[in-house]
Amino acid sequence: MNFDLLSKSSGEWLKGSGVESDIVISSRIRLARNLAGFPFPNRASNFQKAEIETLLKDRIQTLEFEQKFEYVSLTALNTLDRQFLVERQLISRELAANEGPRGVALGNLESLSLMVNEEDHLRLQVMRSGFSLESAWETINKLDDFLEKKVSYAFHEEFGYLTACPTNVGTGMRASVMLHLPALDFTKQIDKVFRALQRINLTHRGLYGEGSRFSGHFFQISNQVTLGKSENTILNEIYSVIPQIIDYERQARNAWKKDNGQILQDRISRAFGTLSSATMMTSDETMELLSYVRLGIHMKMIEDVDINTVNELFIQTQPAHLQKLMGSTLDGEERNTARAKFLRSKLRSSGSTPN
């Protein structure tokens, strides 16, 4: 697989298309599955992990599914390529950091990825731009059916699909929706939303999943509970709450514009100004400022900046992507210089603020 080529596009999750895509970035579902008769990866020897990898790789590659998969072994990748796949959300940070035989099978549309020997033997993941959990479930459920015919999953009558951690047992399903909530975040109303979510057993995470920082005002909302409810019930619970959050965010944006329009305009213009003229930029600052520019475009408070360019910049300015695009490995300071230069070249050609 040619990662250099991939680095030039934004991938499925930041494409910025689909339903409600001004606020909903992407929808994602993952299923945790394990093979009967093998210890879980954390307890398996390298020999057993190699056995699991060979078995799953073979079954996945000969699957008569609508998409073909290409298997990438993580042990054959250098640190930069691993980080690259993490940034694209095709693999987890855990898979990148684990040891021993492990890998990922990537679908040819970059919306499907099957991680082998992560926390569980198999983690199926599907990603969609915008708010479309339904279509995501349809795809992953079908893929799971196809795989199930070829392997024997560890399944328990009472507990359902068995997983290495009991927090995933049952459906093994974690469905999440990534939202861009700058106004709720800025006005601190986001904590209220999180508390309400907690009461209905939904949880929130940062951009790169569990334990990751809240960066660029991106938040992932997902189900906490995996047992005692059908997949459809869980999906419906998320499905019914997202429109309310979208609504709150829209209200917060409008109130912000109405009450403090000048301050908001200044913040957006400054963000754009800094991004298109600074000579050194950290990854964190870039995320924060791009977030305001994204908000500005959707609120029509900044003109002539292409939303696709901004969506792409969110991922292209991440450390591994930047180094791929520059064609060389760079240390922290070199990266900050290269990042600022890249941002300038992408943004200077376009963009002005209305008077």
Binding site: R43, H156, E157, G160, A164, G170, V225, G228
Partner: protein, 165 residues
């Protein structure tokens, strides 16, 4: 020293090396948590401590601490310390400790989702069969047909054998 974000006294001092330069950020615990500046593991109770706590809850804990999965060699206490099970069969061997824990974190102990079609033994049919035996057993006990009850009990044991899945 005060917190960079909220001006409360800073108790956490993060050191970053950026381009060979040391950069220290002073923050309070609250901001570190809300901004998720610390790794999850830094906040967690050490596994050993957790293990000790569960060891002291009494007789049941004592029994649990002796549990070992004959298949993968994982001890129940390993699971308590690390939060990860060793193999699918642990769900049966550690059921005594796992079931209440699962109920606590999942608010349920019964799977209601998808069932793999490939293992017909484990699908509804078998559950129904077990359910029927249980009902028959209840009836047998109520009507004091103890011989019948003993037979049914053995049959149930056989069907529910943890080694079977």
């Amino acid at each position: 020293m005060i917190c960079k974000y909220c001006s409360k006294p800073a108790t956490i001092h993060l050191t970053d090396i950026v381009g060979g330069q040391k950069k220290i950020t002073n923050i309070c615990k609250e901001c570190a948590e809300t901004k998720q500046l610390l790794k999850q593991s830094d906040n967690d109770l050490p596994g050993i401590l957790q293990g000790l706590i569960s060891k002291h809850i009494g007789k049941e804990a004592d029994e649990l601490s002796k549990l070992v999965c004959p298949d993968c060699g994982t001890r129940y206490m390993d699971f308590r310390a690390q939060g990860r099970l060793g193999c699918p069969k642990d769900y049966n061997y550690f059921k005594l400790g796992l079931e209440p824990l699962i109920e606590k974190i999942q608010h349920s102990k019964k799977h209601l989702g998808k069932i793999p079609k490939r293992n017909p033994d484990l699908s509804g049919k078998r559950s129904e069969a077990i359910l029927k035996i249980r009902q028959d057993l209840k009836k047998a006990i109520e009507s004091e047909s103890y011989e019948e009850a003993a037979k049914l009990r053995d049959l149930l044991k056989e069907k529910e054998n943890p080694d079977e899945f």
